[in-house]
């Protein structure tokens, strides 16, 4: 008979197989990194610009500029761009975040040449047609209105405003008429000012086709591609006020969305890795205290979790869940209690070991394959870090104790300093 009572022996994850990128610099100064790996004949080419919403002077400009890159270039109309992207099955991703814009394309190697030509035009020569912009913003305005009916969306936007203040781009909450205010010149200026090699880097990952470096150089290395204006992005004062609570009544809601958290710091802070582990124990995985208590024990919710978000100029911590409106008070009590216990109740031997093993496995998973590796490497580049940062995390995982976690919770996650938003009832 097989012995089912005891788990089979296991080995811990102690090493992460980094793929160290090969670095190159194009004639115009654009840094390019190559991450070779994978089993299938395709690559991802990603261009990152420091051009997020932090850099804009009017709401929605970074987002609209990024999303309209594909709506027509000096060489091709929107119809032609879309037809060719689809024909060459080039999967284009446009992401405008708070600090950066990422424009990437996944493409089969056999279609690389025409796809790169198109990709280069999209990035370098967009024309932002007025009519396309209006149509895009009108559709986005509709989506915005639908989102206002979603408790979790409402809670998230009010929470960011509480944490960073309504003047700060990290905290700004969109209003419906913001969609009417963007003008074509905003996009043209924003693109001229921030989308140039000196403000960017490029990562190519996957199975490298023949002469990849030369081909990237051909489409992105042009010396004439320079920024028209330079300079620092605007500076905004960071709001730092104490705990505040906002309750937004949404009478139709069957569930309430809860968001609790506070401003903290980003991954360059010495305590970041410890905070990451501390957060995981609280709400960072299925075995976490919040999940086990509020979902698995009380049945108040389908899911609950907490996270720490690293932004270039700051960072924050938050807990988020949706609970039945009838139990939102009870759920809040449980959440605050779990936060408090994080300071006082040491993780048991099993709890801590399970947490560490899980996080090490999860970290290994986040490096699985060239595309995952490129995500991790991008993170380092954005924050100006090197692989030592990830080694430190593995060291923290190895050495952190239950006392360290309680101390970290005491320093950074005091329940009395939290912002709280409840949207619903």
């Amino acid at each position: 008979m097989t012995n089912r009572k005891h788990p089979p022996p296991k080995q811990l994850v102690t090493q992460i197989p980094y793929i160290k990128p090969r670095a190159a610099e194009l004639d115009n100064g654009l840094p390019v990194y190559f991450i070779e790996g994978g089993t299938e004949e395709f690559v991802k080419v990603e261009m990152v610009f420091f051009a997020g919403s932090y850099h804009q002077t009017r709401p929605l400009v970074s987002y609209t500029t990024t999303n309209l890159l594909r709506n027509g270039t000096k060489n091709n109309s929107r119809e032609e761009v879309n037809e060719q992207l689809d024909y060459y099955s080039a999967h284009l991703q446009l992401e405008a975040q708070k600090d950066i814009v990422s424009v990437s394309v996944y493409v089969l190697n056999k279609h690389l040449e025409p796809a790169l030509k198109l990709f280069s035009d999209i990035i370098r020569l967009p024309v932002f047609p007025e009519e396309e912009m209006r149509s895009f913003l009108k559709n986005q305005q509709q989506i915005h209105l639908i989102n206002q009916k979603k408790v979790q969306h409402v809670a998230r936007t009010y929470f960011n405003e509480l944490v960073y203040g309504e003047q700060h781009p990290y905290g700004y909450r969109l209003k419906p008429d913001d969609f009417d205010r963007v003008v074509q010149a905003d996009l043209q200026q924003f693109h001229r000012r921030w989308f140039y090699p000196g403000n960017a880097f490029c990562i190519v990952s996957g199975r490298m086709p023949y002469m990849i470096e030369k081909r990237i150089g051909k489409y992105f290395g042009d010396r004439n591609w320079q920024g028209a204006e330079t300079g620092e992005p605007p500076r905004y004062p960071m709001l730092t006020s104490g705990s505040r609570k906002v309750h937004l009544e949404m009478p139709e809601a069957l569930q309430s969305a809860i968001r609790i958290g506070k401003q903290l710091f980003n991954r360059t802070h010495p305590a970041f890795h410890r905070l990451k582990v501390t957060n995981a124990l609280l709400g960072g995985y299925f075995g976490s205290r919040l999940m086990q208590n509020v979902r698995q024990d009380k049945g108040y919710t389908y899911g609950i979790g907490s996270n720490i978000v690293s932004l270039l100029r700051n960072g924050y911590f938050f807990i988020a869940t949706q609970v039945g409106s009838d139990v939102s008070k009870a759920a809040l009590d449980e959440i605050y209690n779990d936060l408090k216990e994080l300071r006082h109740k040491p993780a048991g031997k099993d709890e801590l070991e399970s947490l560490k093993n899980y996080l090490a496995g999860s970290f290994l998973r986040s490096f699985d394959g060239p595309f995952a590796q490129s995500e991790r490497f991008k993170e380092l580049l954005v924050f100006g870090l090197d692989f030592g940062h990830y080694d430190e995390y593995m060291n923290t995982l190895k050495n952190i104790t239950a006392e360290d976690i309680m101390e970290c919770a005491g320093l950074y996650l005091n329940e009395e300093e939290m912002m709280e938003v409840v949207a619903g009832k």
Partner: protein
């Protein structure tokens, strides 16, 4: 091309292995051949509730997640109208932990009244979160019973109404396990940095002694051909109308499935596809538009859906969708357009092959359809579709008598 090996244990468990030495991970997928279509019409939502209970402890292992996390693993599961699928990934060196965990919950579960009650609450909150408390969240709860009158696809995986879940008894849970959760009704697929011989040995060690159950024989009522158009209008607190048009189509294993899927791609896969290019970008009638097939194992649906802008009458918007659908039945698709959608299918398929978990899931899913090697034949099957196939399938699909149309409308102000 995903190379794999297959072995069937004496108790009927089918085991598939794909070895990929480029990853440090292993993915393990266990598919049970039971979905919402197998439920008693008076006890709907049961397959999905059961999926939750599979994480609440088995005969020898009180906490599934705890031990998996201990081995650096991560897992989840989903229930569809056709199947219940459990999957996990973990560092490849800890593969045996996955066998220990998955086999024990095939041997038997540690049910209790308390665990059942908690998961009833969790599922009720899931129902509220995903279906009721979301704009347009209940559209499929309306569309399914409109399109299907007889076949169990007429209810969603969450169930017809949440009362069915709340009334579930422990005995029913036990019976459900006995009927569906045994080796002959399951497929195990492993992909990643593993040795196939070792996987077969582990399968024998951990699953080999599980009693073979009685093979479940599925006898579902076939949906009779629809005779006339069906229409429904619903009013909800949403800022914009949405139109849903559902057409009966073939099942996934039917020879016309790939042509049907390509029709939906021609309509809406990519920004240059007909519906977004014409009706969103050019004519600006819709703000969002989509077309897709449900891809069920029994005959499924081809769905066209879109949100017309304010000021556009919902009937006029619907007419424009009909016009595009009819066009596919009358005018042959030109060569480049057909090649374009085939290129996209090829790329999507190739991208999915770069992920061990996707490979394990697909091997199990195609094995369920008869043979895991069907996964490797998909691209050829799409490549073979001709413009005549598209015309023929479009003509038989896009007919009024074959349509169920839901107008999901904004509430009129009182």
């Amino acid at each position: 091309m995903v190379r794999f090996r297959k072995h069937t244990l004496s108790n009927g468990l089918r085991v598939l292995v794909h070895s990929d030495q480029t990853t440090p991970m292993a993915a393990v997928n266990v598919l049970y051949d039971v979905g919402a279509r197998d439920e008693d019409p008076e006890r709907t939502g049961f397959a999905h509730l059961f999926e939750h209970l599979m994480f609440e402890g088995s005969l020898h292992i009180p906490r599934f997640d705890y031990y998996l996390q201990h081995a650096g693993g991560e897992n989840n599961a989903f229930t569809t109208n056709d199947i219940t699928n459990y999957y996990l990934t973990l560092p490849a060196q800890n593969l045996e932990t996955a066998f220990w965990l998955e086999s024990d919950r095939m041997v038997g579960l540690a049910f209790s009244e308390a665990k059942l009650n908690t998961q009833k609450n969790v599922v009720t909150e899931e129902y509220r979160q995903s279906y009721l408390n979301q704009p347009y969240g209940d559209a499929w709860l309306l569309l399914r019973p409109l399109a299907y009158e007889v076949h169990p696809y007429r209810w969603s995986t969450i169930g017809k109404n949440i009362g069915h879940i709340q009334n579930a008894s422990l005995q029913e849970v036990q019976d459900f396990f006995t009927t569906f959760y045994h080796p002959a009704n399951a497929i195990l697929a492993v992909a990643g940095n593993v040795d196939p011989e070792n996987v077969f040995a582990l399968a024998e060690k951990w699953f080999g002694d599980i009693t073979a159950g009685n093979r479940y024989v599925r006898q579902l009522p076939a949906e009779p051909p629809q005779q006339q158009e069906k229409r429904l209008a619903a009013e909800r607190d949403v800022p914009q109308h949405q139109i849903y048009m559902a057409f009966h189509a073939c099942g996934r294993t039917h020879p016309d499935f790939h042509a049907t899927d390509l029709l939906s791609d021609i309509l809406s896969n990519g920004e240059s596809a007909r519906l977004p290019a014409k009706l969103v970008h050019d004519q600006k009638v819709f703000s969002e538009i989509n077309a897709y097939v449900t891809g069920n194992l029994d005959p499924g649906l081809l769905v066209i859906t879109g949100k017309p802008h304010h000021g556009v009458h919902i009937d006029d918007a619907e007419d424009m969708l009909w016009k595009e659908a009819h066009d596919l039945a009358v005018n042959a698709t030109d060569k480049r357009e057909l090649q374009k959608v085939k290129n996209r299918v090829e790329a999507t398929h190739t991208f999915s092959e770069s992920n061990v978990l996707a490979k394990a899931m697909n091997l199990a899913y195609y094995e369920l359809q008869g043979d895991a090697s069907l996964y490797n034949q998909q691209m050829e099957a799409y490549a073979r579709v001709t413009d005549e196939d598209l015309l023929r399938v479009a003509a038989s699909t896009f007919r009024k008598e074959n349509a169920s149309v839901l107008h999901y409308q904004t509430q009129r102000q009182p």
